[in-house]
Subunit: 332 residues, 2 copies
Amino acid sequence: MTNRQVILARRPVGVPKASHFEMAETAVPSPGAGQMLVKLSHWSVDPAMRGWANDAPNYLPPVPLGAPMRAFGVGEVVASRLEGYAEGDVVEGMFGWQDYAVSDGSEVNRKVTETDLPRSYALGILGLNGMTAYFGLTETCAARPGDTLVVSTAAGSVGSAVGQIGKLLGCRTVGIAGGAAKVRQCLDEFGFDAAIDYKAQDVAAAVGEAAPEGVDCYFDNTSGAISDAVMTRLARGARICICGTAAITEWSPLPMGPRVHRQLLVARARMTGLIVFDYADRYGEARAALAGWLRDGRLRVREHVLQGPEAAMGAIEMLYSGANTGKLIVEV
Amino acid sequence: MTNRQVILARRPVGVPKASHFEMAETAVPSPGAGQMLVKLSHWSVDPAMRGWANDAPNYLPPVPLGAPMRAFGVGEVVASRLEGYAEGDVVEGMFGWQDYAVSDGSEVNRKVTETDLPRSYALGILGLNGMTAYFGLTETCAARPGDTLVVSTAAGSVGSAVGQIGKLLGCRTVGIAGGAAKVRQCLDEFGFDAAIDYKAQDVAAAVGEAAPEGVDCYFDNTSGAISDAVMTRLARGARICICGTAAITEWSPLPMGPRVHRQLLVARARMTGLIVFDYADRYGEARAALAGWLRDGRLRVREHVLQGPEAAMGAIEMLYSGANTGKLIVEV
C-alpha cells in the first residue's frame, strides 16, 4: 500500500501547468495520538490553486516545492485516534492531492452527512461553489421573484448553480457563456430562459434583447468586457454581485475600464463584492436548501471528472483555458 | 409694481454664463381661480440648472428661450384663490427666477413650517441638499458610530452637511476639498477631524494617513481622480455612496478609469448610487432631525448670498468654477 501524491515540483509563474508537477509515492502514514487517517476518493480542482502555487503574497503561504499540491478533497476516515472522528466518517477538507492524508482535524472543513448524494458534491454544489452561488444570489444580489437575473460564466460550477437557484426563486434567468456548446448547456441542462455566447454575440445588444426591461440582478464572475456590457443595461435598483474577476489577469497596476459611477447613480444601483467565507456561520442553511433541491431533482450538477491521479497535473490549466465542462474533479 | 425676471435669452452649450441671461420686467400677474401669487424672497442656484438650460434630453424639458430661468425658490403667499394656501404662508417650490410667481400648487414642494429658522434654509439644508446628505449618509453609506467617513466636496452645501451629520452620528470625519481656504473651513467651521486639499496633496496618501484603518464610508460627489484615490483605501465592508460626479464633464462615450471590481471584492465593499427623490416619503423625518440640530447649534450652515436679481445671471457659472463658498442663494 503506497500513498500516491501529485507534488509541486517547479514554481509556476501564472497558471500552473502539467510540467510544474510530478508524481511521487510514499508509504501510507500512520496516525499518531490525536490524529486520523483519511483515504481520499475525490480531489477538487479550483481556480484558487493558481494563487497557492505561485510565489506571491496570498491569504495562505505558497505551497512548498516538493510537497503535495494543496487542494480540497473528500474521503473516508480509515483509522482514527482523534476524538470526534470514527472509522467510516466521510470528511471534506484541505487534504492535498494525495491518496491518504493524516489530519489532526485542522484540515477538516466538515463531516459530510448527505451520504445519499454523490460524495463529490461535497467539493462543489455542497461546498464553496454552492455556498457562493447561494449567498451571492440571495444576499449580495438580493434576488426576488420577477427579477431578471444575468449570470456570467453561466455554464460553470458557480454560474450554473446561480442560474438554477435564481429560477427556483422565481427570476427570469439570462446566462452568458463562451461558445455554442456552453450556451446549449445553459439552455438545455440548467434551464436558463436565455443564453448569450460572448464569443459570437454583441453582449450589450444581446442582454438588451434578453432583458428588455433591464437587468435587476447581475452575478458577475468575470469583470472586463462582459461586465462592462451588462452594466449598460441596468434596471432601476439593480444589484450587482462581484464574485470573481476571471477576465482580468493582472490587477497591478489597476487596469482601466469604463467608469461605472454614472451607471450606478442613474439606476440607483448597488455593486457589492462577495467573499463567501463571510457567510461561514450560515453554510448549514444553504446546504440544507441545496441538498433538498438536489434530492427533488430540481437542481442539476454537471461534473467534469478526470480519472486517476496523473490527470490532476494538467487540471488547473484546464480551468483557465475553459476546457472543463462543469465542476472539475479528480477521481482518485 | 413690476415683476423682475431673469430670463434665458440664449441657449448655452455646457455651463450657462451671465451672457446667456437677460433681465426683463413684466406686470405682476393676478392669480385666477385655483391659483395663488407668491412673492419670492430667495432664489436657489443649483448644479441641475445647467442641464435645464441646455437643449439636451433630461428629466425635464429644456427651459424655453425668453422664459424665466427654472429654479427653486422660497417666498410668501401674498394673494390666494387656491384651497389650502392662505396669505402669509411660506412656500418652497419651483417658482423660477422672478419676483412673483403665479402657482396652482403644482410648483410647490412644500409649505415651510420652520419659520424660526432662516427662510433660505428651505432651499439648502432643509431642502434637497439636506435630504441628500441625510439619506446618503444614513441609508446609502449606512454610517455607524466609530466609522471613518470620507467626504468629497466637503466644504460644499451637501458635503459640509454630510461631515457634520457624520460627526453627530459618531463617525470620524475626513473631508476632501480644493484649496487651503476650503480645507480651513472644513476644520474650523464644519468640525471635520481631518481635511485634505486635493489640489496640493496626494489624495491616496493623505487618506491613508487620515484613515489608517481604512475608509468605512465614502460619500462621493466627484467621481474621477479623487474617487479613484479613496477607493485604494477601503476598509473591509466599506460603503460608498455615489451622489454626484462633478469631476467628470462628459459621460458619452463612457470615460475610462481604474476598474473598481477587485477593490470591491477584496474589501467586500458596496458602491451604491443615490437619487434623493427615492426618499421623498421620508423627507419629514430628515427635516425634523436637521431642524433639531440647527436649533441646538450643532449643525452649521454656510450660505453664499448674492444680492439682487442681476447677480443671478452669473451664479450658475460660479458653482462650476468653485467660486462659491457654501450654498449659493440669491436674495431678491
